[in-house]
């Protein structure tokens, strides 16, 4: 226990935690959306994030990105990276739903079958990037960690006493909050969002009212994929590194965040992600970095003991504006 280290740098640890938590929150949205509508834990979602990071790596190498570009070209890399990552991740999520889940739904497969399929899809996607593509194309695919160019060079733009907030922190906070607000408004205010809420509340009634269930399900997979794509761009900008199994730990944490906040609840995913990030940052400072997972899960268990449905409670359908 090193209480001084935590207290002396509490501001910096909070910023670092919120930074990491924002990325967890964006990935958590994918779990929560799918769970809210289908009551399915889509374990393949972590690999959707991984595909996003490789898409960013691909498009940046294609555009000839190097370390520390000028501001206009950095902006261009970020925007193009964002579009490509969102398209790749959204597309992967959609493919997974069409190829893996829809045939099962058609046959009314029991939910355990969905679960094992999700884990299978996750492994298949990992092995495609870690093994199959590596056989044909070599690096950057394969088992080893790959670096990306540093598009944004870390620069403490806001200096408070004891706290440096860098441009990377600001980009990630701003993007995460904007995406959250956008998604929240989309679900709560638009016609499509109403369809999503309707199917989440009662699939059969929604179908009787003329809501096309398949289309709603495709929509939530694409939305979740796009959020994971944005997260993968933010990850690439922040840490500039990826690997075939990069999604595993992040996916696990994001899923934890979703459960912590109340799975099926969009705002819960944001809250859960941020809380988890901060708890991890504090515990790495208080103990050692290898304690962060232990502490994160202890907090999860304790919260679920008192609030079994998470901090904000579950249900996408009942989430109010």
């Amino acid at each position: 226990m090193n209480i001084d280290a935590l207290i002396d740098h509490i501001g910096q640890h909070t910023v670092n935690g919120l930074f990491k938590g924002s990325i967890y929150a964006l990935v958590a949205l994918g779990y929560t959306l799918v769970y809210g509508v289908l009551k399915l834990i889509n374990f393949a979602h972590s690999e959707v994030f991984m595909v996003g990071t490789f898409a960013v790596l691909g498009v940046w190498s294609f555009m000839g990105a190097t370390d520390g570009p000028t501001l206009p070209s950095a902006l261009m890399f970020i925007v193009v990276g964002l579009l490509i990552a969102a398209a790749a991740a959204g597309g992967t999520a959609l493919l997974v739903e069409r190829i893996a889940y829809r045939p099962l739904r058609r046959k009314n497969a029991p939910s355990l079958v969905f679960l094992i399929t999700a884990i299978g899809v996750s492994l298949v996607l990992q092995e495609i990037f870690g093994f199959v593509l590596a056989k044909f194309f070599g690096r950057p695919f394969g088992r080893l960690v790959v670096g990306m160019p540093n598009i944004v060079v870390s620069d403490p733009v806001i200096r408070l006493p004891g706290v440096d907030i860098t441009n990377k922190h600001l980009i990630v906070f701003a993007a995460a909050v904007l995406m959250m607000i956008g998604l929240d408004q989309f679900i709560n205010r638009t016609r499509y969002g109403r369809g999503v809420r309707a199917v989440a509340q009662s699939p059969d009634t929604a179908a009787l009212m003329g809501v096309n269930q398949d289309r709603v399900i495709m929509l939530i997979f694409v939305l979740g994929g796009i959020m994971a794509g944005v997260a993968s761009l933010l990850w690439s900008v922040s840490f500039a590194v990826t690997k075939f199994d990069i999604g595993f730990v992040i996916g696990l944490k994001a899923f934890t965040a979703a459960v912590l906040g109340g799975i099926g609840n969009l705002r819960g995913a944001l809250l859960g992600g941020l809380v988890l990030g901060v708890v991890e940052a504090y515990s790495s400072s208080l103990f050692n970095s290898n304690w962060e997972d232990v502490t994160a899960f202890v907090v999860l268990v304790v919260v679920l003991m008192f609030r079994p449905t998470g901090l904000l409670g579950e249900s996408l359908g009942r989430a109010r504006a």
Binding site: G147, S284, S285, N288, N290
Partner: protein, 384 residues
């Protein structure tokens, strides 16, 4: 109708695949059989795929080269090298060991490359009386795990690598505030402990974990400590992102690691700019210093320069091949031969002590560094 047809087709395909597999099984046993010395097999196992394969493949390829050279020189007595990919894990290596122990044609093993997989297989090989010659497994306690001491290694152990890294940090870098990080693995934490023993007081330390990819908390501790040297005990997959984030956060402290990051993937993962000047120890001789025909032969065979632990892999194979050349055909004879081995090899003079460690006087520890995105030899670390 269509479905039945498909099903039948699938069944046929499955049958063909199974038949094919069975056929492969049979043809994989060595053909010929006209050799005067019967079937002789030696095994080699290690992480030929997976995240840390970069540390292992040059050594395996060098061992293959040694066997190829031996077979070319001894057409009447062919040796088969049986390869098994353990992915670096003891769980995968243990069944392989059991299979080999049951194969009476198998008379010796090159491996393991990593410490964990070696520890997992030593009991099996020990009860089979099968000699193991490891090119790169460096955990200190491996040679004391069994009573028959079948385990031998042609490199120094962590008790020599760790202190050497410590001496380099203390005497050559003249670090005032060293900071120690390890990944909690058997290898990484043991190395960090040895380094700490030499350094005495450290400015701070932290433990990370495998598969971690965000190191903000550790970086904060490094900054607070005002460290001038950061030592990392662990492997490339965590060390590369750690160093990258450390440099991004503006920390300019020297970065030193063990042989776990002496891997071409390390500068690629961390980025050429960020990894420039990073240092890594290795009880492996730089191939270009080996001063024998080995380096040219390796270059000619694989069209690339010999890499990390290739000289050691070559030596390990040759220890076993020399036993076969001397007419040793049983496991007990080969083990006795290896125990009394005493010969100049490519990486060093090889002579084992009673526990299977290579003699301390011939252990060499080199410091390597990253220069222009490539790992090059820096200097040999003085023995005291």
């Amino acid at each position: 109708m269509r479905r039945n047809y498909l099903r039948a087709l699938g069944g046929v395909a499955l049958a063909v695949a199974l038949g094919g597999a069975a056929a492969c099984q049979e043809s994989s046993s060595p053909g010929g059989g006209t050799e005067s010395c019967g079937t002789i097999k030696i095994g080699i196992f290690g992480a030929f795929s997976g995240g840390n394969a970069g540390l292992v493949l040059p050594g395996r390829d060098a061992a293959k080269l040694a066997v190829k050279q031996y077979n070319a020189a001894n057409p009447n007595c062919q040796v088969t090298l049986v390869e098994a990919d353990s992915e670096g894990s003891g769980d995968k290596a243990a069944p392989v060991a059991a299979q080999w122990a049951a194969d009476s044609a198998m008379i010796g093993v090159i491996g393991g490359f990593f410490s964990g997989e070696s520890a997992a297989t030593i009991p099996t090989f020990e009860s089979a009386g099968m000699v193991m010659v490891a090119p790169s497994a460096t955990r200190t306690d491996l040679t004391t795990l069994g009573s028959k001491h079948v385990f031998h290694r042609v490199v120094g152990n962590d008790a020599s690598q760790g202190p050497a890294a410590g001496r380099y940090i203390k005497d050559i870098l003249k670090a005032q505030k060293p900071f120690i990080v390890d990944d909690g693995s058997a290898y990484g934490s043991a190395l960090a402990v040895e380094v700490k023993k030499i350094l005495g007081t450290v400015a701070g330390e932290d433990k990370v974990q495998e598969k971690q990819s965000n190191f903000d908390a550790t970086i904060q501790k490094v900054k607070t400590a005002g460290a001038d040297v950061v030592f990392y005990g662990g492997y490339t997959n965590e060390a590369a992102p750690f160093l990258k984030q450390l440099r991004q956060a503006g920390v300019t402290a020297k970065f030193v690691g063990g042989d776990g990051i002496n891997d071409a993937a390390f500068p690629t993962g961390a980025g050429a700019t960020e990894s420039e000047g990073a240092l890594m120890t290795c009880p492996c001789l730089p191939a270009e210093k080996s001063g024998s025909t080995f380096q040219q032969a390796y270059q000619a065979e694989y069209n690339q320069p010999a890499g990390v632990y290739s000289a050691e892999g070559y030596d390990a194979a040759n220890v076993l091949l020399d036993a076969i050349k001397a007419g040793k055909r049983t496991r007990a004879d080969v083990l006795a031969f290896v125990n009394s081995y005493d010969k100049d090899a490519v990486s060093k003079h090889i002579k084992f002590d009673a526990t299977g460690e290579v003699e301390a006087s011939s252990v060499v520890i080199w410091m390597y560094k990253v220069q222009g995105g490539k790992i090059v030899a820096d200097q040999e670390i003085p023995k005291s």
